[in-house]
Assembly symmetry: none
Homo-oligomer: 271 residues x 2
């Protein structure tokens, strides 16, 4: 069997599997069958574990990897590990890479950002805690007035939410600190707050959230990490991990989540 270059994607892996599978000897066939059914384990298992689970010797797994075109198990595993982490090299490196390879055109960059957005959206759907989401929607739909707070990078999201609520004729207020005022006294009992903030967490947003919590006004937090100060309050937290593009982070996932909150709570009110 002649050597073909190693697959470069998970799809490529499956294709190759199909190509080589015919006329495979017993142990290698066992490997093929096990790996076809449990590709997701490759990223986090050792050769020994895979071998045991497939009922073969580690060396059989090694031979199988080489048959697939990889230099060994580690190289194959790398493919799956990379596909799991929505990780990107640093923005500067990436840009430099694009430029060096002569592909530094704006269109190439656009494709990168589009890719980053897509990955963020996929990760969002598989990670979001649907119980928290349901609770958030409930709280928002029951609020008299919805307050929306988000500054800096979170501001576009807050602005979009305010726009969406306005369009649905839902009483809503955008806390944008115009004239450096904060309008905390506009928050009344029976209202709810959607607070959006990402590291480095802006104090103004956190303050407002604290003010609300102290008064029993429910807070829905859209944030990025478990260390967010909003997690300390017992807010209903929705965590969003956007794919990094170094200094520039997409907002696709955050916006999709925000839209969902607005639309779902609007729909619930019609029930």
């Amino acid at each position: 069997m002649r050597q073909r270059p190693a697959p470069r994607s998970v799809e490529g892996f499956h294709d190759r599997l199909l190509e080589i599978q015919e006329g495979l000897p017993k142990r290698l066939r066992q490997c093929a069958e096990y790996l076809a059914a449990h590709t997701d384990r490759i990223a986090v298992s050792t050769v020994a574990e895979i071998a045991a689970a497939a009922g073969v010797q580690p060396s059989a797994v090694m031979r199988f990897c080489q048959l697939m075109g990889f230099s060994g198990y580690s190289e194959m595993q790398k493919l799956f590990r990379d596909s799991l982490t929505a990780a990107w090299p640093d923005y500067r490196e990436r840009l430099k890479g694009l430029r060096d390879s002569g592909a530094g055109s704006p269109s190439a960059l656009l494709a990168e950002f589009a890719e980053a957005g897509t990955r963020s959206l996929e990760a969002l759907v598989s990670n979001v805690d649907s119980r928290q989401l349901d609770r958030a929607v409930k709280v928002i739909s029951e609020a008299r007035t919805v307050h929306v707070a988000g500054l800096r990078r979170a501001f576009p999201v807050a602005a979009y939410l305010a726009y969406a609520f306005e369009k649905m004729e839902r009483p809503a207020m955008l806390h944008s600190r115009t004239a450096n005022l904060d309008a905390r006294h506009a928050v009344r009992e029976g209202d709810a707050l959607i607070a959006i903030t990402f590291a480095p967490y802006s104090a103004a947003t956190v303050d407002l959230a604290e003010h609300c919590t102290a008064r029993g006004v429910p807070v829905v937090a859209i944030t990025d990490t478990a260390l967010s100060p909003l997690m300390q309050l017992d807010a209903i937290s929705l965590m969003v991990r956007e794919v990094d593009f170094g200094a520039f982070r997409a907002l696709s996932a955050t916006l999709a989540l925000a839209t969902t909150l607005a639309v779902a709570s609007g729909a619930k009110m019609l029930d």
Copy 2:
């Protein structure tokens, strides 16, 4: 610091992180922050990789693991590896599941919006006119001050652009009509305007674009159809077609395009 038993779930991990995070010394705090933001990498990274990414020594990561209650990194990693294999339905499966069963639930809605966003991004990459994009980037990188105009649905995009330029220390001005003023006289020769508007096209944005064109200030237009009034001016036009879901239209593609303009023009200036 007294030892508490190791967290037994990913949620438990986050909780413990919150508990211990206060008063953490510098390097351990770096670990905490990095791991809070990138928990998904733990399952597939080595100590050395985590340490490098967090900007600390491997031994610091080890001490952090022990502080969290684990015997070491391997034990902590096991938690995340198990949670991956246990049941992490990937994006496609999850989407299918939601379509079939939980129709109408907030999670199902989220999946729909994510899908709409993904398709918008795909369409964007294949439809965008790269010559126009190149010209737009050139014009923006050569401008003294970049003006950004967008109202209503386009406002979040304009706000994001203003934020991105600010972060890159690029002189930029967001025309937001605060106090119903328009700041058209702030546009000077040598500047450029990025005008964003979608049907129904808001008069204020179009007026500003006309004002600029009349004075020889180049205009980059982000818009949705060939019928846009911005197309009548000889602006550099970038068309974006967002896929809509119900009455709500995503902004993913528009934002990706906006980010590209900002980053590409920023990169060009470094040449």
